[in-house]
């Protein structure tokens, strides 16, 4: 992929995340922080489909943004063909891994598999 495309995604994910994370955190705060973390409330959140979709979105956006950020830092730290390939694919793999792991939580909770 062109570096500009990657970086557009980086900025795009960040911008989209700003809005969504804000909602996510505000949810915590409107309810009262501790309350919001109670099991029932959390579970209820997960079961509310629009909220679950939002969580999934945040997950994808931040994983993409975060691991690309990590890739950038690692690329700048050290150079070399093999190293750079390893960093790129490594970050991609970690990103996919994290998304998969997080999605599992969201999907299973949402479908009531707990």
């Amino acid at each position: 992929m062109r570096e500009s495309t990657i970086m557009k995604i980086h900025y795009g994910t960040a911008l989209a995340a700003v809005a969504l994370v804000a909602v996510h955190i505000l949810m915590r705060l409107t309810m009262g922080f501790a309350e919001s973390l109670e099991y029932e409330n959390v579970l209820a959140n997960y079961k509310f489909v629009p909220y679950a979709i939002m969580l999934e979105l945040i997950l994808v956006l931040l994983a993409v943004h975060g691991f690309n950020g990590l890739r950038v830092i690692l690329l700048e730290l050290k150079q070399g063909r093999i190293y750079e390939k390893a960093v790129s694919y490594g970050c991609l793999a970690a990103m996919i891994g994290l998304i998969a792991y997080g999605s599992r939580t969201i999907i299973m909770t949402n479908m009531g598999l707990v």
Binding site: Y11, A14, L15, V18, V21, L29, F33, A34, L37, Y39, V42, L43, Y46, L59, L62, A63, G66, F67, G69, L70, I73, E76, L77, L98, Y101, G102, R104, T105, M108, T109, L113, V114
Partner: protein
């Protein structure tokens, strides 16, 4: 390698003292990005405990409901707010917004891109991060 090329290395990249506040912002941005990434990964793991049912969730929640946990969370809030606000500033800058206009430079030179708009952006990111952290601490410890 580094020695041959006489690169300054991580120390030089990191050293925020020699240049202006812009360099400090650069450094905080990196740190907070990495910190947030670490928190994010941990957070995904943390929330996955919900799959272990009420007992599992509460067990894990207790682990974080300590003073250390709160301080850690406060730090995350700080990083998050700084990274977000500064991120918006950096994004605007990267798009060429607020970095001044090309003009004939007159001695003594004063680079237009290092202007008060971006400095205000940086200071407000720091300030907002501090306010949010305090608010967060108040909420967490205030119960």
């Amino acid at each position: 390698m580094t020695h041959d090329e006489h690169k300054e290395g991580i120390g030089g990249m990191a050293n925020p003292t020699r240049y202006g506040i812009e360099r400090v912002a650069y450094w905080l941005m990196r740190l907070s990005g990495l910190g947030l990434l670490a928190y994010f990964v941990a957070h995904i793991y943390e929330t996955s405990n919900i799959l272990r049912g009420q007992v599992g969730w509460n067990e894990f929640l207790e682990l974080t409901q300590t003073t250390e946990g709160h301080i850690f969370l406060a730090l995350v809030i700080a990083m998050c707010v700084f990274h977000t606000v500064n991120g918006v500033r950096v994004m605007l800058g990267h798009g060429g917004v607020g970095v001044g206009k090309p003009a004939r430079p007159d001695y003594p030179y004063d680079p237009a891109s290092q202007n008060y708009r971006h400095k205000i952006g940086i200071y407000s990111a720091i300030l907002l991060a501090a306010i949010a952290t305090m608010y967060g601490l108040a909420v967490m410890f205030g119960e």
